[in-house]
């Protein structure tokens, strides 16, 4: 499995972070996982990541996992910012949230989300999701270039 890519997880709930980290390990996802704990931090991270000059030090993630209910800037605001950037806008964004609001689902897709998945309390179901993401986005998907 390719291991040079990274994943950005935008999540304020530390248990969710812990669970995902554990699960990524369990299903052998080797991409480095960066965590932003609020919307501002996510934007800062992506704004500083420089695909063009120092891809090794400050890599752009090949996948973004985005929670919606976030402090400072909401997930939808982060998504809208991402899709307005020159290169960052190419990065696939998966919304991973507990929000069942149709307005959130529709809003996320309107803003260009690549997937919308609901958080669940079942470890098995969550693991199924993580495997699904791995196979789809990290193994089979043709990733866009993250340089201008």
């Amino acid at each position: 499995m390719k291991s040079n890519g990274t994943i950005l997880l935008v999540e304020d709930d530390s248990t969710d972070v812990l669970l995902l980290q554990r699960m990524f390990r369990q299903v052998q996802i080797t991409q480095q996982l960066f965590v932003a704990v609020n919307g501002m931090e996510a934007i800062d991270f992506l704004a500083k990541a420089d695909g063009a000059h120092h891809p090794e030090k400050n890599p752009l993630p090949q996948l973004i996992l985005l929670d919606l209910k976030l402090p400072l800037k909401s997930g939808l605001e982060v998504l809208s910012w991402i899709r307005a950037q020159p290169v960052v806008k190419r990065i696939p964004v998966i919304v991973f949230t507990s929000s069942l609001d149709r307005s959130d689902v529709n809003g996320a897709y309107e803003l260009g989300a690549n997937g919308y998945f609901l958080k669940t309390g079942s470890l098995d179901k969550m693991r199924q999701l993580v495997v699904l993401w791995r196979d789809h986005w990290l193994v089979n998907n043709q990733n866009p270039d993250l340089v201008p």
């Binding site: 248990t15 969710d16 309390g121």
Partner: protein, 393 residues
């Protein structure tokens, strides 16, 4: 014979003189009193000798005299032959009397004005009554206007209160929604972490410890189902809804597809009496309702029985009623209304799954589509639930 002599000799003079109730006053061409009958004395208090030769203006009120009303009356009588007189006059004792009558011109055969006859009748009581009626009527009109004013104010108040109430209601629903939503995050953590402990430390736990953790997980699942149902309920109540023509066939198809796994697992037989009509509604809401009816039919059945579900529709002019019949445990008559309200469960926790919110959601969803749900009473075996909706336009 002088003119006055002529007048005095009118043949009905004495008769006139004795008339009561009607005041008859004869005036000469200068409007001065020539005769004054008993009626006039009765009405005005003066006796004939007192007033003979006086200009008739003394019976008018000072205001009318100042306003030249007596002169105008004479002029009118000269011009038209008769002048109406409906006004207040003054008695000898200065009290006032309202009279109705007139001034009648007397002419010679050649058309020369000879004098006048003033005829008056006491209308004080009638006038007073009329005035009273008018006053009462004015009061009534005023009261009516005031009442209308009150009604308008009341309506405004009611509108305002309704508006406030709706706002409160919306706030409350928002509150309920965010509570239910916010409860889920820590709940998920508890569920997931319990499972993590089972997975990662299961080997060092004794069976009892694992079982206890399993209880935490199951309790978590139940609470999560409940919060999800509550979210559905509040969403049903607060969401904007657009009613269009929807196909019940499609609704039932989609519900059966969603419940496919359960239907197969339980070997359930579902028969739909096609075609089902088009109705006015919202697809997702209709699915919510039938999803509820059908999953109840699958849930509330004795484990020894194979669920048999029948779905059909009856169309009338004003509404379409769709029935869902099952062979489940049924609903006792005394509970048939209750089950459509929030948190009414008929079965102890654990005997049948469920949160007690499902039928309340169904009811709310039906109401939002201008319909209703219910249960057919008196069914002894299983139950028949129905949904009423307006037919598609």
């Amino acid at each position: 014979m002088t003119e006055n002599d002529f007048l005095r000799t009118l043949s009905f003079q004495s008769a006139i003189h004795d008339v009561q109730v009607y005041g008859l006053i004869m005036l000469d061409a200068n409007a001065q009193v020539v005769t004054w009958n008993r009626g006039a004395t009765q009405l005005l208090g003066y006796t004939e000798p007192e007033v003979l030769g006086q200009h008739f203006e003394f019976i008018f009120t000072p205001e009318d005299r100042a306003g030249k009303v007596p002169e105008a009356e004479v002029e009118n009588a000269l011009r038209q032959g008769y002048a109406y007189d409906d006004r207040w006059h003054v008695r000898r004792d200065q009290t006032r009397i309202f009279v109705n009558g007139g001034l009648c011109l007397l002419k010679s055969d050649a058309g020369q004005p000879l004098g006048f006859v003033k005829i008056i009748r006491d209308q004080t009581e009638r006038k007073t009554n009329l005035d009273k009626i008018k006053e009462l009527n004015d009061q009534l009109v005023q009261a009516h206007a005031q009442l209308e004013n009150y009604t308008t104010t009341l309506e405004e108040k009611i509108n305002q209160r309704t508006h406030e109430l709706n706002e409160r209601n919306a706030e409350l629903q928002d509150f309920c929604y965010s509570i239910a939503h916010d409860v889920r995050a820590p709940l998920r953590s508890m569920q997931a972490m319990s499972q993590v402990v089972i997975e990662d430390y299961g080997s060092i736990l004794d069976p009892k410890g694992t079982e206890y953790l399993g209880r935490i997980v199951r309790a978590g699942e139940q609470l999560d189902r409940l919060t999800l149902d509550l979210l559905d309920y509040t969403r049903c109540s607060r969401e904007e809804i657009h009613l269009t023509s929807i196909s019940l066939e499609k609704v039932i198809d989609d519900v059966l597809y969603t419940l496919g796994e359960n239907i197969t697992q339980q070997n359930a037989i579902v028969s739909v009496h096609s075609p089902l009509p088009l109705v006015k509604g919202q697809h997702a809401y209709a699915m919510q309702i039938f999803g509820n009816f059908i999953s109840n039919a699958l849930k509330f059945v004795l484990p020894t029985k194979k669920p048999v579900i029948e779905i059909w529709a009856e169309a009338a002019a004003q509404r379409v009623r769709i029935y869902v019949k099952d062979n489940g445990i049924g609903v006792p008559l005394e509970h048939q209304t209750k089950i459509f309200f929030l948190f009414e469960r008929l079965h102890p926790q654990g005997s049948f799954e469920g949160t007690g919110v499902g039928l309340a959601i169904a009811r709310k969803a039906a109401q939002r589509m201008k319909g209703d749900v219910g249960i057919v009473p008196g069914v002894t075996e299983g139950s028949i639930f129905w949904l009423d909706l307006e037919p598609a336009a």
